[in-house]
C-alpha cells in the first residue's frame, strides 16, 4: 500500500475512534481532503481488514467493529506522551519479516523509535535463519533504535527487551518468564522470541533492529506440529486473548524506559536482580549449544553482563555468552 494510503487509512481510523456517534461522509471527506467516493473506497478497504461499519442514510458511518491489529491509531492512545518509541508505527497486513523491512528502511533514514508491525509474517525468522511461524493473531513487530549504546553493551538490547515484554505481559496478568537469553515462556513453553540485528560504527552501536514475536491470540494448531509440544500461545495457555495494541503500547513504554537508562549507562546491570527473578533457566540442568560445542551442566546464574554461568561438574563453572539452551531437567524450560 502506498505511503499516502496508509496515512489516510490511519487518519480515517482515528476519526472513527474519536467520534462519539456516526460520522458523516461529508465530514470525513472534508477532514481528509478527499472526495466522498475516495472516502467510501477507503472504508471498503478497512472492511477488508476486519473493520465493520454501520451506514445510515443522511447520518453517516459508525464503526461497530475495530480489529485489534498493531496499527498506529490503535496503539498510540495507550502510549505515554513522552514515549520515544512508537513514532511512527508502520503496520502492514502482511510482511515477509518486520526485521527485514526495518533494516531496509534504516538505509532510508528511518527515525529512532520507529516500530514496524505486521498482521502476519510470511518469512518470519528466528536464530540462524530458522523459520518462525507468524500467523494472524500474533504480535509481530520490530523496534528500531539509533545509537542505543556502546558496542560492549549491545547484548543488553535483547536482554532488556525480554524484560520489557515480561513486565508488560505480567502487568496484564500473563505470567511469562524468560529462558536465557531472551525467549519468552508461558507455563514452561515458548510463547515468544526476540532476535536483534545490529550494525556498529567503531565502538558504538550505530543502529539496531529488535525483532519481537509473540504467539498471542491464535490457536495452538496454527503452529507447526513439530513444535506444538514445546510452544504455546497466550490464548491457548490462558484461555483468553490479550488486547494486542494495548499490549504493544505497554511493551514499548517499558522498553523506552529501559533503553533510556541504557543510554545513560544504567543497562542490564541496573535490573539484574529483577531479570534473574524472572529467569526460569537458573537452577536447572541445561545443555547449551555454543557454536558446534555442547556444554552440559546446572545453570547457576546470569552474570551482570548477561552471560550464563553453568556448573559443568562440582565446583567447575563455565560462562557462556552465546548459544542456545537445548533442554533441561524440567521439561521445556
Amino acid at each position: 500500500m502506498a505511503q499516502d494510503d496508509t496515512r489516510v487509512r490511519d487518519q480515517l481510523i482515528e476519526a472513527f475512534l474519536l467520534a462519539d456517534g456516526p460520522v458523516s461522509g461529508e465530514e470525513l471527506s472534508h477532514r481528509l481532503g478527499l472526495s466522498r467516493t475516495a472516502v467510501w473506497k477507503h472504508i471498503k478497504a478497512l472492511e477488508q481488514l476486519g473493520f465493520a461499519f454501520e451506514a445510515s442514510p443522511r447520518v453517516g458511518y459508525r464503526a461497530v467493529r475495530i480489529p485489534d491489529e498493531l496499527m498506529a491509531p490503535l496503539v498510540r492512545p495507550h502510549l505515554p506522551p513522552d514515549c520515544l518509541l512508537g513514532s511512527p508505527i508502520l503496520w502492514a497486513e502482511s510482511r515477509a519479516s518486520t526485521n527485514e523491512t526495518a533494516l531496509e528502511l534504516a538505509q532510508k533514514g528511518l527515525p529512532h523509535g520507529a516500530v514496524v508491525t505486521a498482521g502476519e509474517q510470511t518469512g518470519g525468522r528466528g536464530r540462524r535463519d530458522r523459520a518462525w511461524a507468524s500467523p494472524r493473531g500474533g504480535m509481530w513487530f520490530t523496534v528500531f533504535v539509533r545509537n542505543p549504546c556502546a558496542l560492549r553493551h549491545a547484548p543488553d538490547l535483547t536482554l532488556l527487551a525480554a524484560l520489557a515484554v515480561c513486565r508488560a505481559l505480567r502487568a496484564d496478568g500473563v505470567p511469562v518468564e524468560i529462558k536465557w537469553p531472551n525467549d519468552i515462556l508461558l507455563g514452561g513453553r515458548k510463547t515468544g522470541g526476540i532476535l536483534a540485528q545490529i550494525r556498529a560504527e567503531g565502538e558504538m552501536v550505530d543502529h539496531a533492529v529488535i525483532g519481537i514475536g509473540l504467539n498471542a491470540n491464535f490457536a495452538l494448531e496454527e503452529l507447526p506440529e513439530e513444535i506444538r509440544d514445546r510452544a504455546t500461545t497466550i490464548l491457548h495457555a490462558t484461555g483468553r486473548p490479550i488486547d494486542r495494541p494495548k499490549a504493544l503500547a505497554h511493551i514499548l513504554a517499558e522498553l523506552d524506559r529501559l533503553y533510556r537508562d541504557l543510554r545513560d549507562g544504567r543497562g542490564f546491570q541496573a535490573v539484574h536482580a529483577e531479570w534473574i527473578a524472572l529467569c526460569s533457566t537458573i537452577g536447572h540442568e541445561v545443555e547449551v549449544a555454543v557454536g558446534d560445542e555442547r556444554v552440559r551442566g546446572m545453570a547457576r546464574s546470569v552474570e551482570p553482563d548477561g552471560s550464563l554461568v553453568i556448573e559443568t561438574s562440582p565446583g567447575v563453572t563455565r560462562t557462556v555468552v552465546s548459544g542456545e539452551v537445548l533442554f533441561s531437567d524440567r521439561e521445556h524450560i
Binding site: A154, P181, L195, Q197, E203, G291, S322
Partner: protein, 157 residues
Amino acid sequence: MLTMEEIRELIRLLDDSTLTELELEFEDGKVRLAKRAEVVSYAVPQVAMPVAQAAPAPAAQAAQPTANAAPAAVEDPALHVITSPMVGTFYRAPAPDAPPFVDVGSQIGPKTVVCIIEAMKLMNEIEAEVSGEIVEVLAENGQLVEYGQPLFKVRRT
C-alpha cells in the same frame, strides 16, 4: 589508608550494588575498584593496537578488555586484519545452509558484510570497513571468538 578489612568491606558493597566502579580519594592516596570487564585502567599497560584498527576513542573509562587478544602487528602495510569487536560466536554465513558472506578471493568494499558475531541472540553484522580482497579466513565457522581476535586478512586495494 584503608585496612585490608575495610577494602574487603568495600568490595562486598560494590558486589551487592549495581555500580560498576567505585573510586575513593583520601589525603594519602586513593582506591579504585571496578567490576569484571571494567579493567582498572592504570593497571593495564598500553597495548599498541594495529594501525588499521584505529577506531574512534572509546568512552573514557572503557579500558580495552582482554588486551592479550589483540592481533600481532601485520608486517605488510597492504595487509589489513579484520578483528572481532566483541566476544561471541563467529558465523561466516547468514544461515547454516547459505553460502558464506565472503571467501578467500572475495572482493570487498567498506560496507560489505563479512560475517556475523552473535552474543545472546544479538547478531552483529560485521562490515569490512576497508576495500580489498580477502586473502585468508582466520577463524572457524561456529567458533567462539574473543574481543580483538583476528577474523580475516585483507589485501587492500
